[in-house]
């Protein structure tokens, strides 16, 4: 197999100009350790300056360059061409999101879902602006009881010291805080395709990140935000999200934890 030169087929589409998407093929000289992102830059600089794609850190931490590469969603910067072991690489944009141009998709629907679950630590539920906004009020009444995720050892509210968090409590959110919100899981999920309102794996993972944080006082209201047909129950545990995550996170597990929390609290008559 001649891997010194690789053919890269790139999805092209400008909804303002093109009737339908098409593919362009480029030949790229492969250097040792070359990543798909570097190949895209090679194309941009030397072959076709009109190519659209997102980039920033090139070190798999910013989440800009998530795209579909040879059958799977990946970060272009983290994918080495040699390791794909093929002569032709096919690149498409993230699925289930509107294409703006080529590999650039509109991430707004993704981030709107993320914003809907109150994606920040709730330290005082009675004062929380989003918990009291009209949109979220319909979904869940504020529950001022201590965090359903275990209470935790607190040292008061004063910001002149840290809140205490045991190693065990901190370990509970270890996996979830690695999420870079790249959208690979969202794009790979069959449910985000069939139900446009489904919150999706990244958003639900975030919900669990706060639900499991011993410092968060959202408690049952966190669960209420992810209840319902577009919430956790839409997940059919297909594990696509788990398979594609470039940070090896298992969103399905987080969704299961939220489901369990909901069932438990419903049985106990707390909600």
């Amino acid at each position: 197999m001649n891997r010194e030169v690789v053919t890269i087929k790139v999805f092209r589409f400008d909804p303002d100009k093109d009737k339908e998407p098409y593919f362009d093929s480029f030949k790229v000289q492969v250097k040792k350790g070359m990543t798909v992102l570097e190949a895209l830059f090679d194309i941009l600089e030397n072959q076709d300056g009109s190519l659209g794609f997102r980039y920033s850190c090139r070190g798999a931490i910013c989440g800009s360059c998530a795209m579909h590469i040879n059958g799977s969603y990946r970060l272009a910067c983290q994918t080495q061409i040699e390791k794909l072991e093929v002569e032709e690489i096919v690149i498409k944009p993230l699925g289930h999101l509107p294409v703006i141009k080529d590999l650039v998709v509109d991430m707004r629907p993704f981030f709107e879902k993320y914003e809907s679950i109150i994606p920040y630590l709730i330290s005082n539920p009675k004062k929380d602006p989003l918990l009291f906004s009209s949109k979220t009020k319909q979904r869940g009444q504020v529950d001022p009881s201590p965090s359903a995720s275990g209470g935790g050892s607190k040292s008061g509210n004063s910001e002149t010291k840290e809140q205490l968090q045991s190693l065990k409590e901190r370990a509970r959110i270890d996996e979830m805080i690695d999420c870079i919100l790249c959208g690979c899981c969202h794009a790979s999920c069959t449910m985000t395709l069939t139900d446009k309102d489904y919150l999706g794996p990244a958003t639900l993972l975030k919900a669990n990140r706060f639900y499991m944080d011993s410092r968060d006082k959202g408690g049952i209201s966190r669960l209420k935000l992810v209840d319902g047909e577009h919430g956790v129950w839409r997940c059919h545990t297909i594990f696509n999200c788990n398979e594609v995550c470039p940070k090896y996170i298992n969103p399905t597990r987080s969704i299961a934890k939220l489901k369990r929390g909901l069932i438990k609290n419903k049985i106990l008559g707390r909600m």
């Binding site: 300056g49 794609f53 840290e162 045991s166």
Partner: protein
């Protein structure tokens, strides 16, 4: 035209922290050329310094000790009044962020954990495994959502509106549509990050082009101390991705081809945890004198730390090594070399983040307050973003509530919008002989080779001539794509023009400074020269090139002394 009381350019840590503060007092918007979560701050790994005293070895830590370490680390070029504010505010900023939800790693008794970093005698660096920047960036963005702060993402600023010493707003290019718009504001804060990508070997994100610094400079705001470029000792061979100082903080060794921990020859007491400028020179010396591997790198060895510690404290480093170079640091040493990492200089401002231009502020890596002087300590950059981000936000918002600019401002921004529209139209229509990519590559190569860790007059003069030539060639540049929508060729060619400005200022500052101080090491002037050079470099823009002048360093508590580790 858009209007806001306060406009913050940059959605990294300094920008987000400024926005959070400013939103307490005034209407504020963030403008960034990428979504805020894609900012380079997220790539910070090792930690953030504050004298919390949570570690048994650092129980009696104080802001004064932190201040002294910072000033000594800066080779006495930092302004000590600013360093005092910096270190006094540190602990409050950490506690505040902990309450906002930053998932700091913890001690056995549940406090924020601290690890050793270079230039401090005991552990002072708070961390969240080796993803500290990532977790703080996400947490501050969450706080921005909570406050419903308006974000214009994928807008690239093209100009700053300044007239008669007053700032009125900006002009920016919407990357998605290719259209330009004016943004009228009472105050503008630049938190636009560093200029790492003027060098070919850099740990920085590809977006770190120094454009913000250059836009301010072109609008008449001076740049300060630009010749001080930090080279991080340990960057992964090939991609130059950062291998955090925490690798050494947690006990990692630097080893040459003979298998020796060579830092014993350079800094026997602090060994691997000597400040970055010194360790980078040591590594480069080993490589230059034939004790490196393949004349290119040395080893960062973590194997003796064991699987458990590596998985617990340095999981991100392990992932990067596996994905980008195919080795597992639990089993193999990591091939590393020094690489450009940080821009100590920046937009000249005071300890309130105010610049010479009324209504214009700077914070974070884009700014030069200066708290880092000639060499920044590891763990102090994240701290700078939140301490001075907050200060910039507060002062900018308070100033904005007291001014009404209306007509003059509107006209100023409109005029600038017209100018930039013509400039971009010209770029999109003209055809020339020069390829922007070639100019970019040649510039980065020259900077890397001739303004690196070891400097001397002749190569720097050559670099200066090369930059002049590239600036001329840039005038004849042609774009390969002339469309408007998501035109990366246009976006990057605009950035290139600014890069050329920045490279010129770095080079001229370095040629002029005939001494060795911190990161600026001259083979032809090997000593620090306080009598002549204990001063800040200031560069002002003119069409013929920068005009250089000097300003005194503010020395309050700590008299300059020999910097020994």
């Amino acid at each position: 035209m858009f209007e806001h009381k306060v406009i913050i350019v940059g959605g990294g840590l300094a920008g987000l922290r400024a926005a959070i503060e400013a939103s307490k007092y005034a209407d504020v918007a963030i403008i960034s050329k990428v979504h805020p979560l894609r900012s380079h701050s997220g790539a910070a790994q090792g930690g953030i310094n504050a004298p919390l005293g949570n570690h048994p070895e650092g129980r009696d830590d104080t802001w004064e000790k932190h201040a002294f370490d910072t000033v000594k680390g800066s080779d006495f070029l930092a302004d000590q009044d600013a360093v005092e504010i910096f270190t006094k505010e540190a602990s409050s900023r950490i506690y505040e962020m902990e309450h906002w939800g930053v998932p700091f790693s913890r001690t056995e008794d549940g406090r924020i954990a601290q690890r050793p970093f270079g230039g401090a005698a005991f552990p002072r660096t708070c961390y969240a495994t080796d993803k500290t920047g990532h977790t703080i960036l996400h947490t501050l963005y969450e706080q921005v959502i909570k406050r419903k702060i308006k974000v214009y993402d994928e807008w690239q600023v093209t100009s700053l509106a300044v007239e008669s010493g007053l700032c009125y707003g900006i002009v920016a290019l919407n990357r998605l549509t290719g259209e330009l718009s004016g943004f009228l504001a009472d105050t503008v804060i630049f938190a636009t990050g560093g200029a790492g990508r003027t060098y070919s070997k850099s740990t920085n994100a590809i977006i770190n082009t120094g454009s913000g610094m250059a836009i301010a400079y072109r609008a008449g705001v001076p740049l300060k101390d630009m010749e001080f470029i930090q080279f991080h000792p340990t960057t992964l061979v090939g991609t130059n991705i950062l291998m955090t100082e925490a690798c050494r903080g947690e006990g990692g060794y630097l080893v040459n081809v003979k298998g020796e921990r060579f830092m014993k020859d350079y800094s026997p007491k602090f060994m691997e945890l000597t400040p970055r400028d010194i360790v980078s020179r040591a590594i480069q010396t080993e490589i230059d004198e034939g004790r490196g591997f393949e004349n290119e790198y040395i080893y960062l060895d973590l194997r003796h730390l064991g699987r458990k510690k590596i998985m617990e404290r340095l999981p991100g480093i392990r992932d990067i090594c596996i994905h980008f170079i195919g080795i597992d640091p639990i089993e193999s040493p990591i091939p590393v070399q020094p690489g450009q990492h940080y821009t100590m200089g920046g937009i000249s401002c005071n300890e309130r983040c105010e610049t010479e231009v009324k209504g214009f502020y700077a914070a974070g890596e884009a700014a030069c307050v200066s708290v880092h002087g000639a060499n920044r300590l590891g763990g102090n950059s994240l701290l700078e973003t939140v301490v001075f981000g907050k200060i910039a936000g507060e002062y900018a918002a308070k100033y904005a509530t007291g001014v009404e600019k209306s007509l003059i401002g509107k006209k100023s921004v409109q005029d600038l919008l017209k100018k930039d529209t013509e400039r971009i139209e010209r770029l999109l229509t003209k055809s020339g002989r020069e390829h922007p990519g070639h100019i970019r590559q040649e510039l980065k190569k020259a900077m890397n080779e001739k303004l690196g860790i070891f400097r001397e007059k002749k190569p720097m003069d050559e670099a200066f001539a090369r930059i002049k030539e590239l600036k001329e060639r840039y005038k004849d540049v042609t774009l390969s794509y002339k469309g408007r929508k998501y035109n990366l060729d246009l976006a990057r060619t605009l950035e290139l023009e600014y890069k050329l400005d920045i490279a010129e200022v770095i080079t001229i500052g370095a040629i002029n400074r005939q001494e060795s101080r911190g990161s600026h090491w001259r083979l032809d002037f090997k000593d620090r020269d306080d009598a002549n050079w204990l001063k800040h470099t200031t560069a002002r823009y003119t069409t013929e090139g920068p005009i250089i002048s000097y300003e005194p360093v503010k020395i309050t508590r700590f008299k300059p002394e020999a910097r020994k580790y």
